[in-house]
Symmetry: D3
Subunit: 187 residues, 6 copies
């Protein structure tokens, strides 16, 4: 019955339902979190996610994992998880991390984390991690959803497809449209 | 027993627990949603929220309401609700609305809404409403939480207290720090 | 991934799952809440619901909307939502509203609402709205479920198909069976 | 009482307001379900509930129990549980049971249950049990809430305190106000 | 099978994959709880479960039922329900029952129950019922899940398929592997 | 403690019992996960948990973390988390891991994990990790609850306080009481 409900339920939220009798140990397994993601990009970071898209057995279990690699001076830029809270621990290096609370305070809670430090990013709040040091850094993060989602703020605002009209963004950020166009052009 | 559990439970999530025998009809009531909020501000919009902070009886009920007023050319700038989905209907005027999906697509779903149109903003996604017309507009929005929270993107990123370091934002938005400093100075 | 999980999930509770790549803005949109429902009926009210049956994108989001029109002296008769709490605001006119708490108290909480007033009906409690004035009235209501359900008490008790035996109802309401038969005949 | 309901049982879930060291086995225990309730009343039934008000340890556990005694020709009249589904089994005697689905169908699902039969009443739907036989009957019911609540339809509609205005009920039930007044007078 | 578990019962909650018009009263009904399970086995007990596998209409309702028969000196050996809390009442005979709290205390809460006594076993905790008397005993138990699952500790540890390696169990139970092999051979 | 757990962390979710203005970044922070737990014990493993007892800000967020150190030939013996699923990744060394499904199958899903491998243990199922190698091993595990709880099977069954009667355990494990007494004496 276990197999029936949990593995078959993989279908429920959009994934294919397999015959429970065919469930195998691989449905609960993923390999590769020991390998560094390629952080040679503009932000200098790479996220390797392990969620229900990678492990079918996570369906209905309300949890997932991720490894984040940070190049020197790299950062995981301000982003949100629309359906999850996050708890992160630094495996190697140091990170300056923070989150901003809701309106009206918009208070920044930030801290420098060293190896073995743990930090919590509550659901839906904008947060970031920055490798302020000259060595690479590695973090392991857990999220309270099988499918937490990621919204990188800059990309969603300035690089959506199609673009949000520049006059909307210009007014939101209280800058000239030329600046908005300039930022949009970077992406 | 009803009163006991639901009104008294108001304490659980941070509100004072009153003797259930003293619960009164006012605990389920709010007045004022007929009055226009003052939209004479930089964004040209005003949100009048009605949540558990205004109606104690909403505690544990998973719902709240808001009225949004838009001046001509005003907008409710890109924002998220960290703990709620939203369904909105236009009571007066026209609105151009949209939301952006998660990474990697960051697809913009947008539409012009007229009076009586209804639109859904799924939980945690960045969304906005813009009064593109020359007349004021009014919307009523419902949210799937007694305490949905609001995070205005521009304010949380560029006007947190204290500020997020400008080099973090500059890299995130792929612009010069001077531009970041310029934007921060607007708030 | 967003599209995959949320739009495809439409299947979960009985709706067809479409290929997420085919999700369109219309899946989050409904038109028509500006039009008055036809309240020219015995109760003098009309509910225009906007839930997952009308907007597929509401699936899993835990919220829906409704417009209620009241003819002069019309009422939305005593009813319950088996799977939702409700928050209502008066858009036009005045309403006398109320809900009754559970046994043993069965206490009536009632109030006259004017334009802009907001009232909460906790999940599963019997409640009603009555337009006691000589002008039509309009309300917008939000419900904490994609599919809240409505059970009009009089209809469910006296006009189910097939009928509840009249001796059961007669004893429940402590009246003669002739009265029950008389009431049943009205529906 | 607040502490009782919300905190003490939290002990087995890890925390307590009451010093967890003082938690005792009695916090998970109730005695008396072997005793027949007094069904010598107008409806000819008696419910003996065992929920969080009787067993503090049920807090947060989402379940409760009840024994129902039915006199000959007695009934548990049409009622709803605003916060729970129910599953019932007949321990002695026979019962005619039913529930009515939501609008618009208001379909009655009914069945005669004998000893050992089990029936389900989905959350928030109006349901009843009637002892159509000449012998007493006994049922055990389980509910999916620590505090399910009970709303006896007739009492909530015709005997609330204060009364719902008789013209509201008269129109809802489509009968003359005299009939409403007559019914109200029975309670 | 998917249809059975996930969709059909959704009918009373509003929708169905199976054509709702084909839903019948049998979808909410089970017969047979008056019959004693065959407790003539090594443990001297038999559980007759009534969950979503037996009543399709239980889907989404978060509750199920079970009858437990105990031979004289029989027991329902230490077990857990991975997805449910339990509330049990003794219908006939006497039972010595108990549960053990989590680490580090591992405190045993136990009690002798007589007819009509009720006891609660919180979610996921190891618990047991033992018929210490010379007469048979019967209990009715309710569980807070449509599909609670049962894990009999001894069977899962010593009789899984394939077996857990005996040196793992030997170290866990701090005994010689021969003892583990001896126990495994019993199953 | 009550206030701490139920209210203070609610601050980032919008409200607080503790004055929200006194919330500090330390409420979301823990230090020490880089330090090996002392695995010099009979099982050869040590769990360093980071949950709501260590980070007040985890309240309501549904997630927690743990580091597990394994001595050579050490194991995290068969145990369950009554209120959480688990996802684990091997940071160093190799582990043989497994879980057993519910009755009646009691199927063992097991696998050897190497560095960077990830494995899922569904809620409430008995599972274990064993360091079969000659080098120490380290794992990071995430759990889907702020307070998942741990029940080490051997300890809960054979070393509860007070003890479960040895004849109950003897029958459950189908062995002579002398063996039970022998095992109990080890703890």
């Amino acid at each position: 019955l276990y197999n029936l409900v949990y593995v078959c339920a993989v279908f429920v939220n959009g994934f294919a339902c397999k015959d429970p009798k065919t469930a195998v140990v691989e449905d609960f397994y993923f390999s590769g979190l020991h390998m560094a993601g390629n952080a040679s990009n503009k932000q200098g970071s790479a996220v390797t996610a392990v969620n229900v898209a990678h492990i079918a057995g996570l369906n209905t279990l309300g949890i997932s994992l991720a490894r984040v690699d940070y190049a020197r001076y790299g950062q995981n830029p301000p982003h949100i998880h629309p359906r999850a809270s996050e708890i992160l621990t630094v495996v190697e290096g140091s990170l300056y991390v923070g989150f901003v609370t809701s309106n009206l305070e918009n208070k920044l809670f930030s801290k420098v984390l060293n190896q073995g430090d743990v930090f919590v990013f509550p659901q839906g709040l904008i947060h970031f991690q920055c490798n302020c040091g000259t060595k690479k850094a590695i973090a392991i993060a857990a999220l309270s959803s099988k499918n937490p989602g990621v919204i990188t703020i800059a990309n969603a605002v300035f690089a959506s497809k199609p673009s949000i009209k520049d006059d909307i963004i210009a007014k939101a950020f209280q800058v000239d449209k030329k600046i908005v166009d300039h930022i949009q052009a970077q992406f």
